[in-house]
């Protein structure tokens, strides 16, 4: 396996880490206005992700940096091409991060409700936009011979991509609801469980539509063949099993299955793209691939060594934080945020 492929896989791993981890804290942010009845509830909800959200977000920053380092042309085309969508996502991430830190540092109810609203918006926007972005990447966008994106914002807002956006929104929200079922107590836990159970069917329906439509709108599934292989089939199986675990209130398993489903979805998307990283809708020869978009072999070697040393270390200490803060949080607990 060449280093270009190694980095293609590593970037998939970073996205899996990002979607799996930040996915649930986006979901928690989206559910904040709906599950809480009073300020103390809202604080409990925010405190379930309090120690984790910032570390989770670094998976995105690292994925962005890794794309820049390993595939500079991918970074340049994607970021300059999806410009206004990224401005929107950045605004969401900025207000959300500040809101977590600021919202409980003043008692004024209007201050708190302003920041709560920003937590919702700042979680909703990226949860939606990531589906839109990924659907567009697999569907193909207008990229010219000199690797530049030549469409506008409205090229990105096509119906297929919007279904992709709704799917990621639903998937992350469901992920957040299951996480809250695992991390809260009493009636808050009950409400989270009920929400997760209600979200399961619509989420599955959206995924179903996205996959079927994907056979017509993209070449991903055609490339994978009639029997698409282990990854997408297992993804489907995991998501179906999750429904059963939810029904039997085994939230730990449901959370694992939803996470597995998301991870295998990313694997499927990357398998369908390989060896491309962005599909040109104008001319297949103009697509960006792991070869024409990549850094030099020397840089890829350096980065491989760095990644092989430090990614496991990060996994260990981030895993440790989830161990330290493994307990459920209730209204009687001391709340920092």
């Amino acid at each position: 396996m060449d280093l270009n492929t190694v980095w293609f896989i590593l970037i998939a791993v970073l996205f899996i880490g990002y979607f799996f981890l930040e996915g649930f804290d986006y979901g928690v942010g989206i559910l904040l206005p709906f599950l809480a009845k009073e300020d103390r509830d809202r604080r409990v909800i925010i405190n379930t992700i309090g120690p984790h959200w910032d570390g989770n977000e670094v998976w995105l920053i690292t994925a962005g940096g890794a794309i820049f380092a390993a595939f500079p042309n991918w970074y340049a085309t994607l970021f300059s091409g999806f410009y206004l969508a990224l401005v929107l996502m950045l605004v969401g991430l900025i207000v959300r991060g500040v809101a977590f830190e600021f919202r409980s540092k003043d008692k004024n109810p209007r201050w708190r409700s302003l920041w709560d609203w920003l937590i919702f918006v700042g979680s909703f926007v990226p949860a939606l936009l990531w589906g839109v972005a990924l659907a567009n990447i697999v569907k193909g966008v207008p990229i010219d011979a000199s690797k530049n994106y030549v469409g506008g914002l409205f090229n990105l807002l096509n119906p297929y991509a919007l279904v992709g956006g709704l799917t990621s929104l639903a998937g992350f929200t469901l992920h957040g609801a299951i996480f809250l079922s695992l991390k809260t107590t009493d009636d808050l836990m009950e409400r989270a469980h009920t929400t997760a159970s209600k979200l399961w069917l619509p989420t599955m329906a959206l995924i179903f539509v996205l996959v079927i439509w994907g056979y017509f709108a993209t070449d991903v599934f055609t490339r994978l063949g009639v029997n698409p292989g282990l990854a997408p089939i297992s993804a489907g199986a995991a998501l179906l099993t999750m429904g059963w675990f939810l029904r039997t209130r085994r939230h730990g398993w449901a959370f694992a299955m939803n996470g597995l489903g998301m991870a295998l979805t990313v694997v499927t998307v990357f398998l369908g793209l390989y060896p491309r990283v962005m599909v040109s809708s104008l001319n297949p020869d103009w697509s960006l691939t792991i070869y024409n978009a990549s850094s030099s072999p020397y840089t890829l070697t350096v980065m491989t060594v760095v990644a092989l040393i430090f990614v496991p270390i990060v996994l260990i200490y981030q895993g440790w934080t989830y161990w330290v803060f493994r307990e459920r949080i209730g209204r009687q607990n001391s709340l920092k945020y």
Binding site: N47, A69, A70, V87, L90, K107, K147
Partner: protein, 460 residues
Amino acid sequence: MMDALLLARLQFAITTVYHFFFVPLTLGLSILVAIMESAYVRYGNDLYKRLTQFWGKLFLINFALGVVTGIVQEFQFGMNWSEYSRFVGDIFGAPLAIEALLAFFLESTFLGIWIFGWDKLSKGAHAAVMWAVAIGSSLSALWILIANSFMQEPVGYVLRNGRAEMTDFFALLANPHVWVQFPHVLFSGITTAAFFVLGISAWHLLRKSNVDFFRRSFQIGIIYGVIGSVLVILVGHSQAQHMVQTQPMKMAAAEALWENADPASMSLFTFGNEPERRDVFAIRIPRLLSLLAYNRLDGEVKGIKNLEAEYEAKYGPGNYAPPIALSYWNFRLMVGSGFLMAFLALLGLYLVLKNQFEGRAWYLRLMPYALFLPYLANTTGWLLTELGRQPWIVFGLMKTDQAVSPTVTAGMVLTSLVTFTLLYGALMVADVYLLAKYARSEPGKEDLIGLPDLSGQGGE
């Protein structure tokens, strides 16, 4: 109508200067809070715990904005500067990715543990967690400055396949520019944190509130401030000498030195005519610039006009001078506020050693205003560094006007520029409101959020 290039440059200036309002305090205060908490572990004195928590809370409010504005920094290279990203990505992307992997994960993950882990970890482990945050912050500065240093002084590369490709990773790390720039930034962070602590402590001491607490804060702040402000000047001196060697045009612009001079005099005050490249009025000290550049009373310092001719011969016709008046005044504001801070810190040290500082009301009244000096120095320092490199985005390799994204329109850049500027402005109001509120609060009697919450009722 402004063009996309100018708007993209303006956006980079605004978002970077804004980001760097928060970063130096994070750098310096993370170390100081870790020291305070270590003192608590070592001596078991409750005062140190309260110091850790009071200054730690202000650290957190500041940290939040530094983090979120940092995301914009990483994204905007690709968004506004895609040609730059393609040209240097093989080199520049690596330190950015390593910064995220080594520094951001460490900083963010351990800060989460620090905030929420007061009653979950032992005292020693909790202090160690703060050290991890501080090390993460400094590592982050190191890696981003390794990236920036390549733009100032490219090393370890070859031009191949129409771009700059890395040939020697360790040359990037050993880039001499890194090892003058990183200490300069680190000590400016330490100075920023010191003056932050000194300003707020002086405010309380004047009002005789919590005298024990703020006396100790002030004493710690003075020691920290003397270390930071003296070292930042000494390192700055080496940095300037390095600049004379590697980026002589930046130094010539910072000094408004039009012609080669040996010995070179230093300008105390110059009012110049930039288009005609001449002084209108100037006060100069003979030989001082040579002395600063070479540590002796003679030695040639190159002038703007000579360098322009040299660069035209080397790189072809074009404009090779940075904005001279801006470089000149930014340099003077940075150096001036730097020396003023060192003076105030040393004076404070004298008063502390003579145990007189609480009686000197004029000094205590001055220090809350001195809190703004490091911000002035930090901002003008970066403006000099980045403006003084123009017209280059990577010195000698790529010009800024070749670096901008070709397909991003002026309207798009304007949209994001206005969006970020308004958003940043609003967040600054909220941030200053909270900082002022908690800075004025009585230690141990703030809302107790982010701190061990013994009542179980938190901020309600």
